[in-house]
Every structure is written in structure tokens, then in C-alpha cells.
């Protein structure tokens, strides 16, 4: 990530591909360039990139709300952004086995 410091982060998208999560980091480097990171479903933890790209804070919080992925180092990760404060159910964008 340090090497990409000078390029612009477009967004981070998450995908549930039954078994593992795909985190896609889209950058603007002469067009859209995407870097894919796989995270195991059983222990979804990854290092946050907020210290390098401050705009990632909200993308990571959104993904945490909807996929329950932990971003280590994001200071406001556990303040709910879109979900109600007392939300206890399943992360809404996770896929069932039947989906």
C-alpha cells in the first residue's frame, strides 16, 4: 500500500464469494486498477489503510457494517454508520448458503 501512496483511492468494495471474502481496492492509476485481497470467512480481519488513505475510513466502516470484516487500526470502526445502533442480527450483505 505504501507504494501506491501517490495514487488516488477510488473505493474499496467487498464481495462474499461463499467461503472467503474478496476485498477489492480500486485505484486511479491511468484508468481503474484493482487490487484483490482474499480474507478467510472464519476470521475476517485485515489491517486498515486509514493511515495512508484517510478517505478509506468511511469505506471500511461501511464494509464493517455490512460484512462484519474487522479493519485493525480504524479508530471509529465500531461506531455504526448505516445500521441502527442496537443492531444485533446478521450482517446484511453476507450471503446465505442458499443464495
Amino acid at each position: 500500500m505504501e507504494k501506491l501512496k501517490d495514487s488516488r483511492l477510488i473505493t474499496i468494495s467487498a464481495l462474499d464469494s461463499r467461503g472467503c471474502y474478496h476485498l477489492l481496492y480500486h485505484f486511479d492509476i491511468n484508468g481503474i486498477k484493482t487490487f484483490k485481497v482474499l480474507i478467510p470467512e472464519k476470521k475476517p480481519v485485515i489491517q486498515s489503510i486509514v493511515d495512508i488513505f484517510p478517505s478509506a475510513e468511511f469505506y471500511e466502516r461501511e464494509i464493517h457494517d455490512f460484512f462484519d470484516i474487522e479493519f485493525k487500526g480504524n479508530p471509529r470502526l465500531h461506531d455504526k454508520m448505516f445500521l441502527p445502533d442496537d443492531w444485533e442480527g446478521r450482517a446484511p450483505l453476507k450471503k446465505d448458503k442458499t443464495d
Binding site: 478517505s55 445500521l83 442496537d86
Partner: protein
């Protein structure tokens, strides 16, 4: 040390759309701010899952009432990339025409509201009157005044006739005549300058660090514009300039937007003049077995990004990153150190569009349950 924390919103006279801003104060000065969203959630990303491509387009058309050209235009671009299909020139020109008219009406609307925030009600009325001409054109071209729904995969809904061209030329002339006089007022008026100059200043380094986009980045002197960087539709065939201001404050952002209206009018004129002859293709069904593609367009507020993954002819996952979501991270930083009275001005100067931003899922009723997809469709689609 924080004296106390006050919530601003979700329903507040100074903020038109629902968001709750919690600001910690020390006297009248803000020391910390946090934003809470989710009051206008529509669940678009979840809703798109499992839909056919043509059904998906229908939902994307309804994401936002102001950027309602940018979202479908990005969606059809991504689908056409997957199909490896290049639309005919005429279709590209008509799409560019719609994009620019959408930008004109959005920027005029925003300029009016920016001035309304600082107490210039008369200017709001004037701007809305001018916006009406842009809406009349869009209504004639697409049949709708808000959710235009003119984009179809491989084509557009309606062709532009000779009569339409004359109609557009007449209306656009009126807007072109009026906007420079408003620009003069915005530039010179002492009250406007007192409220906007040096308020919410974003330095160029910060704009780069926070990956800012659209008129906000251009107001800080950053050269970011998808129309130039990664030309789509017919933008590589028209001549236009990127509007830049250097001071990075609310006033610079306002001037960027006002000057962009004039630049968009210039593009519209070129499009009308050089529109290639020919027919637009008929609307046909689209079937894609599998694929994944990303795409971006320049919405009025900045870069609009779509990622679509298709599996078994249906949408498996759609990710939509509207421009507003990008600059929420700098918004809370901008407030620190300012007075409470500046909150609406700074928020308005960023031109947020919450309808675009809040798309994912949560329905909360008394029983706290998530609706099934069928219930969802019955209730909301």
C-alpha cells in the same frame, strides 16, 4: 476538553436531507465531529442482487433524483464493457447531451441552495427559474422531469429530432444569457464573500491526501475530471476546459460550479452542431452469462463508480460508490475549529447528495426484523 456535544439533525431546518451530525463543542467552537447516516436507506445494493440486467437498470434509474443521468449512464457503460459493445456515434452524442444537461440543472440547483443557506432567498428563486429551462429540455427529450430513465443498454430511449435541436438551442440561449450576471453577483457581493471566502478551506495537499474528486478537488486546484482523464461517451470529441480555482474555500467551489455551467453549455452547443446522422438501434434484450466489470463517469458532484458482477445471467453483486461518499471523510475534518454557524455553509459547499449515498440495506420496524426480498419488492419497488 469537550464542553458538551450537540446533535445536529437528522431533521434540522438548516440541513435538507437526513443525516445526524454530532459535534463536540468548546464554547462556540467545534473540536470534534462525527456523522451518522442511515436515515434514508433504500437498500439498492441488496435489491440489485439476483435481478436481471434490464431489471437492474430500472432500479439504478431511481437511485437519485438529481444525479439521475449519472447512475444509469455508468451502469450501461459497465454492461456494455462486459458485452464488448461500442454504441454508435449518435447514441454516444445523445448520452453526452443528457449528461451535460443533467450537470447544468444540478449545478444551477445547487448554486441556488448554497445562496439560500446564507440567506439569499431571492437568488434561489432566480436560479430555480433558470433551472426550469434545463428541465423543460430534459422533459422533452426523455419524457420525465426527475428520474429521466433515458439510458438503455446499447441505445437510448428517444432519438433527438430536428425540432428538438431548435427547442434546445432556444432554451439554452436563455440560460447562457442569465448565468454570467449571477456569476458577477457571486464574485463581487460583499455579503456572499464574507460568508464564503476562507470558510471550509481545503488545501491542495489535503485534497490529494483525501483522494477528493469533482468540483471540490477542482476548487482546490487539483486536476481531476473523468471526462478528461478517462473519456467516455463522446467527451473525446468535444472541446472543453477543466475549470480550476486555487483558493479551495467555499467561494472557490461555488465559482467552479458556476463556471462549469457555462462550460457545459459550450459542450451542449458543440454536440448539437456535430450530432452525426443515422438511426439509434432498437431496444433489445441483454443476456450475459458471467462477468465482472468496473466503470466510472463524471457525475455533477464528481466521479461516480459502479462495479457489477454477473453470475448465471443475474446480478450477483453490485457496488455503487457515489461521489458524496468520497468526501464525507474530509467533511468532519473541515468542521474542526469552526463555529457552529458555519456547519450548514460548509456542508452545503460540499454539495452532498444523501439519496445517492444511502443505498444499502436496513429496514427497521417495531419488531426489528429485516424484510425478505419479496416483502421488500412489494413495499418499495
Amino acid at each position: 476538553m469537550h464542553d458538551y456535544t450537540i446533535p445536529i439533525g437528522p431533521h434540522h431546518p438548516a440541513i435538507d436531507e437526513p443525516a445526524c451530525l454530532r459535534v463536540s463543542l468548546d464554547g462556540n467552537y467545534i473540536v470534534d465531529a462525527n456523522i451518522r447516516l442511515g436515515y434514508a436507506h433504500k437498500g439498492i445494493e441488496k435489491l440489485l442482487e439476483g435481478k436481471r440486467i434490464d431489471q437492474g437498470l430500472h432500479i439504478v434509474d431511481h437511485i437519485c433524483g438529481i444525479c439521475s443521468v449519472a447512475h444509469p449512464s455508468c451502469y450501461v457503460m459497465v454492461i456494455e464493457k462486459m458485452l464488448n459493445y461500442k454504441p454508435p456515434e449518435r447514441v454516444n452524442y445523445i448520452r453526452t447531451l443528457l449528461s451535460e444537461l443533467g450537470r447544468i440543472q444540478s449545478h444551477i440547483f445547487w448554486s441556488g441552495f448554497m445562496l439560500h443557506e446564507i440567506g439569499f432567498e431571492t437568488m434561489l428563486a432566480y436560479f430555480l427559474r433558470e433551472r426550469e429551462y434545463a428541465l423543460e429540455i430534459l422533459e422533452r427529450l426523455t419524457g420525465n422531469r426527475s428520474h429521466f430513465a433515458a439510458h438503455k443498454v446499447r441505445t437510448v430511449k428517444n432519438d433527438v429530432t430536428e425540432e428538438d435541436v431548435r427547442f434546445i438551442q432556444n432554451k439554452i440561449k436563455i440560460i447562457e444569457k442569465k448565468i454570467p450576471s449571477y456569476m458577477k453577483i457571486a464574485k463581487k457581493d460583499k455579503v456572499i464573500r464574507a460568508r464564503l471566502v476562507d470558510v471550509g478551506t481545503i488545501r491542495r495537499q489535503d485534497a490529494e491526501k483525501y483522494s477528493l474528486i469533482g468540483p471540490i478537488a477542482r476548487g482546490s486546484g487539483l486536476r481531476v475530471d473523468v471526462r478528461k482523464d478517462d473519456p467516455y461517451e463522446a467527451y473525446d470529441e468535444v472541446d472543453f476546459d477543466m475549470m480550476l480555482e486555487w483558493s479551495g474555500d467555499a467561494h472557490a467551489r461555488m465559482m467552479v460550479r458556476l463556471r462549469e455551467i457555462m462550460e457545459s453549455i459550450r459542450i451542449v452547443k458543440q454536440i448539437l452542431k456535430n450530432m452525426p446522422d443515422g438511426k439509434i438501434p432498437p431496444i433489445s434484450p441483454v443476456i450475459i452469462e458471467e462477468g465482472m466489470e468496473v466503470g466510472r463517469v463524471e457525475a455533477p458532484r464528481g466521479e461516480n463508480f459502479h462495479m457489477i458482477k454477473i453470475k448465471d445471467k443475474r446480478i450477483d453483486r453490485a457496488r455503487i460508490r457515489p461521489p458524496t461518499f468520497n468526501f464525507m471523510s474530509i467533511f468532519t475534518k473541515l468542521l474542526e475549529g469552526r463555529e457552529v454557524g458555519d456547519v450548514p455553509v460548509i456542508l452545503a459547499s460540499l454539495d452532498p447528495c444523501f439519496a445517492c449515498m444511502e443505498r444499502v440495506i436496513v429496514i427497521k420496524d417495531g419488531k426489528r426484523e429485516v424484510l425478505t426480498e419479496d416483502d421488500f419488492r412489494r413495499k418499495y419497488v
